[in-house]
Amino acid sequence: MDGYYAFMLVATAFVLMMTVPALALFYGGMSRSKSVLNMIMMSFSAAAIVGIIYVAIGWSMGFGGDGTFFANPFDLFMLKDVTTDGYIGVMFQMTFAIITVALISGAIADRVKFSAWLVFVPIWAIVVYFPMAHMVFSCTDDSLICGRIGAQDYAGGTAVHINAGVAALVLALLIGKRIGWPKDKMRPHNLTLTMLGAGLLWMGWYGFNVGSIVFSEESLADEGTLIEQFMSETGRTFANTTLAAMAAIIGWLLVERVLHGKATSLGAASGIVAGLVAITPAAGAVNIEGALAIGVIAGAVCAWAVGWKFRLGFDDSLDVVGVHLVGGVIGTLLIGVFSTADGAGGVDGLIFGGGLDSFVAQLLGVLVAFAWSGIGTLVIALAIKFTIGWRPDEDSEVGGIDLAEHGESAYDLHTGVGGGVKSSLVAGATKAPEGIGA
């Protein structure tokens, strides 16, 4: 048990790293140079806000007791009655809430008031994410997706990726296109940042998937069984996570080579994420052949799916729908096909003669996630649209959201002429507070 506790400390820090900075860099590199800071700030601010409300009511709503949709938000308010030796479990789940919210930001790059995002984040976490976490991860007998439907979701195919992907689709449709899209190409401004972010995401995903182990009652009753489950299950989830990412790189590159003529670095980075998304729900359920199959399918299908937005005309700027929603659905459904009885869920999928029951349960889980996230996000997004509004004025968006919302620019590449002069030196005024910049 000491080993497990030490492992969870590391896993939790890894998952936090997935948002700060991995996702921020992954998204930041894909955005335009005039909006990279805002993109990064959407992830960083999500971490701050969601983390604090998570300890206030998030843990209680998710894991505080029984309930079909969520538990009482105030039973464990501010972690009362949670002893400090249970805190790491809270922190681990908190990092999942943070990254789920941050994932959505990729769909609305370059064009949303920072204030609107700051209002959206806590409300979405409370109304949409905390209940989804209860339905999937707490797995009380009456929880909808895990307890009642019996769908398998090892680390968040429904609760994290489909959830964030549906929210991204709703926001992209409701907030609308960036000015000039799709006529202006708006290509990624720094793919090295994106590759770095994708690599860090991959690393962090070991905390995400491998750390999601849940011990069986037999294991908790017997030390030997516990160690056996811990070692065999973490080995399985680690290997599956790795192989799915690798297979997805190949799947993505093959499809884009056929569709667009070149195998690209952005394709490799996207393939990594698509594969990891798809293996997230299935990491414990399948063997390594299943992981390879899920990875290559997810990579190939997502590479094709990211083109839909141009045909259908919605500006999902950084492909949250094409990667997270599509990848999440693929991984969640394919559990019903590739799972094995010696995996974490204990049931055989279709190809191992397990019949359709598992697949139907997975499908129902997906539909619940679509409905909960779709309706919840729509209500919140409409409320914001008709009160404070989502979009800045046209000049702010065209001039760059970094400058308009944060008063900063990410890169100073022309120090000779454009770098700016410290006002206090020019005017002889003392605008800069003392001690700043030390």
């Binding site: 065209v398 900063e408 206090s424 800069a432 700043i436």
Partner: protein, 112 residues
């Protein structure tokens, strides 16, 4: 022959380019420049210290055209780059003595 030089807002450049292409302009030289006119720069704040950023980013377009086309080209640029707000830029025309196409040695109108 005339040299048409235009300084326009960066997000208008794509519109200007495609309108000129439709008109029949086959090439141009484009640079990212910065400067200021009536539209001044802005202030940025880093750790509480304010910085005056005097210069505003613009796109400069340079096209050498047949004298007969000058009015049309200037008109197209003015129309497509216009937002009606301060900072839309300038277009100016200057005379050109000689043009040589480096590959062939063609001169003047034949080199355009």
């Amino acid at each position: 022959m005339k040299l048409v030089t235009a300084v326009v807002k960066p997000h208008k450049w794509e519109d200007v380019r495609s309108a000129l292409e439709t008109f029949g302009v086959t090439g141009m030289t484009v640079s990212e420049v910065s400067g200021y006119g009536r539209q001044k720069g802005h202030t940025e704040v880093y750790r509480g210290a304010e910085y005056d950023i005097a210069l505003v980013p613009k796109i400069r377009i340079e096209i050498v055209v047949d004298s007969a086309d000058v009015e049309d080209v200037v008109g197209i640029i003015t129309k497509t780059a216009q937002t009606g707000r301060i900072g839309d830029g300038k277009v100016w025309v200057s005379p050109v003595d000689t043009v040589v196409r480096v590959r062939t040695g063609d001169t003047d109108e034949a080199a355009l």
